[in-house]
């Protein structure tokens, strides 16, 4: 005997339950955010590093041996960074710490001059006292950033101990855990959920791994490029350029602006400024023509205006995290909605067969 026909009302009820479950899970994650941070970070790290583990598995290693190789490779990489990069970076950060008050004073002086000339041109602006307001707001903002950095440093330290440990087990057992969770889905939605997870996996995996390669390439090229042309704090600016390159359209100029700003404050010549622009342009062109083309096997397939809209909204809602994660979150939501829409379209009553 066949089951009763599935009505559209029941399907929408199921969608409602699903949205309620997702909202409840999201709210729980929000409440327990700080405690769950190492687990989320470990999950993220396991997800991004899985292609490297699979690379070793394709060479005939078991899963355990492949994960051990990956960790060995990471230890060597960290050792290399500590030996070769950290001394330079440490010197630059110490120098930046020493120069920061001078940079602040020069920027402050330049802003006051700009403010005076603007008020001379447009006397009506004097009543708004913009200079003092901007100065007060920047002090408050810097203080907040300083406090957050201090707190986050503590969390970072505790996470650094837990994250490698959790990532190890997620790399080993993550597939089994995922299979168990998918197995819990009711039959009516099992294949749809499997298809949904597979599609999200395909897009997200290639996007995140591609971004990691992109960060490493651009960070390395920028650090080498800026150091070669004699930009002060070239290594630190290069690393910053690598990290912010994940933000579409906005990320690439940030490194160039930082290098130009530092060089201007140091009183560098015009030729040096031109060199910085040329190096930045070359890195940007290489990134778009070579790195992104080769590394990103599946693009996000979004219109540039859509990307900008997502960045604006996500940046407003979640700040820096919104800029970094807005695009992948939107892609996941888009796939999710497409699957739900497809499932709703395919819902039709089952009929009694002939011959039973």
């Amino acid at each position: 005997m066949l089951s009763r026909p599935i009505s559209a009302r029941r399907t929408w009820t199921d969608v409602g339950y699903l949205c309620a479950i997702i909202s409840a899970v999201g709210f729980l994650l929000y409440l327990l955010g700080t405690i769950l941070l190492p687990f989320v970070a470990a999950g993220f790290a396991a997800y991004v590093l899985t292609p490297i583990v699979e690379f070793f598995e394709r060479r005939g290693l078991s899963r355990g041996a492949a994960v051990a190789c990956l960790y060995g490779f990471i230890v060597v990489l960290i050792g290399g960074v500590v030996l070769f990069v950290t001394p330079t970076l440490g010197r630059e950060i110490m120098a930046l710490h020493t120069e920061l008050p001078r940079y602040y004073n020069e920027i402050h002086r330049a802003l006051i001059l700009l403010h005076s000339s603007v008020e001379q041109q447009f006397p009506i602006l004097a009543q708004f006292n913009l200079g003092e307001r901007i100065a007060q707001a920047s002090v408050v903002h810097l203080t907040e950033v300083g406090e957050r950095l201090t707190l986050n440093a503590f969390l970072l330290f505790s996470a650094l101990l837990l994250v490698p440990f959790l990532t190890w087990y997620l790399l080993l057992e993550g597939a089994a855990m995922k299979k168990f969770l998918i197995g819990c889905v009711p039959n009516a939605y099992f294949e749809s959920m499997l298809n949904l997870i597979h599609r999200i996996d395909q897009h997200l995996s290639s996007y995140l791994f591609g971004q990691l390669i992109n960060i490493l390439c651009i960070g390395l090229l920028s650090a080498i490029g800026y150091s070669l042309i004699g930009v002060q704090f070239g290594t630190a600016i290069g690393i910053l350029s690598g990290i912010v390159t994940v933000i579409p359209y906005v990320g690439a100029p940030i490194g160039a602006i930082a290098a130009l700003l530092v060089s201007l404050l140091d009183g560098s010549s015009i030729s040096k400024l031109i060199s910085i622009i040329l190096v930045s342009s070359a890195i940007y062109a290489f990134d778009h023509l070579v790195v992104k083309t080769v590394v990103f096997s599946k693009t996000t397939d979004l219109h540039p205006m859509t990307i900008i809209l997502i960045l604006v909204v996500a940046g407003d809602l979640l700040g820096l995290w919104g800029l970094l994660l807005g695009i992948p979150i939107f892609c996941i939501a888009k796939i999710f909605c497409e699957e739900i829409a497809g499932a709703l379209k395919r819902r039709k009553p089952a009929t009694h067969p002939i011959g039973m």
């Binding site: 005997m1 066949l2 699979e54 039959n187 099992f190 395919r346 089952a350």
Partner: protein
């Protein structure tokens, strides 16, 4: 007593795992695989339980993979627009269906419904593709087996079609298009 209970739980789990292994070994698609490769496949499959009359998949659903019947019966139905569905086949334990879903992305061409309480082992393309990325030889063997199975079915279907058209040709003297 607790040790006996604990041991019994694990023994039941081991028995169930062994039964699934035996079911997979009997499937023609997996017969070229070594025991180690078959254990890999066993880790990838999902065991699903269906109540009497529950739909496993419907016509038009995305094809994700195949099912192997472990126990119970599955009716394969062809849905006819504005008419009742037609029963094409009734499959029992050990038989499999939906294997075309491992090869292409076309929607399901029939509906599968459980007849009585049914347990089926699902083997899906996403899991196969993931396994193939780690063990290319395993993926190649499975895809080759599926292709051979489908090829054999296609030959049988063409043979039957040939016989039907030859019979029709004798009656009507019209040569079918594909025989010209």
């Amino acid at each position: 007593m607790i040790d006996a209970l604990w041991g019994n739980i694990f023994r039941r789990q081991e028995n169930k795992e062994q039964q699934i292994f035996d079911v997979l070994r009997a499937v023609p698609i997996f017969q070229g695989l070594s025991s180690r490769e078959l254990r890999t496949v066993q880790r990838l499959v999902y065991v699903r339980h269906y109540a009497d009359g529950e739909t496993i998949f419907s016509t038009g659903d995305p094809s994700l993979g195949m099912y192997i019947i472990r126990s119970g019966t599955v009716h394969i139905l062809r849905e006819i627009p504005e008419a009742q569905s037609k029963l094409i086949a009734a499959l029992t334990a050990g038989e499999f269906f939906g294997e075309m879903g491992l090869i292409d992305d076309s929607p399901r061409s029939a509906t599968a419904v459980a007849h009585g309480n049914t347990e089926a082992i699902g083997f899906f393309k996403p899991e196969l593709l993931n396994a193939s990325s780690r063990q290319p030889e395993l993926g190649l063997k499975i895809f080759l087996s599926v292709a051979k199975t489908l090829s054999a079915r296609l030959r049988l279907t063409l043979q039957e079609l040939n016989e039907i058209y030859k019979k029709q040709e004798k009656e009507t003297d019209v040569v079918p298009t594909y025989l010209r």
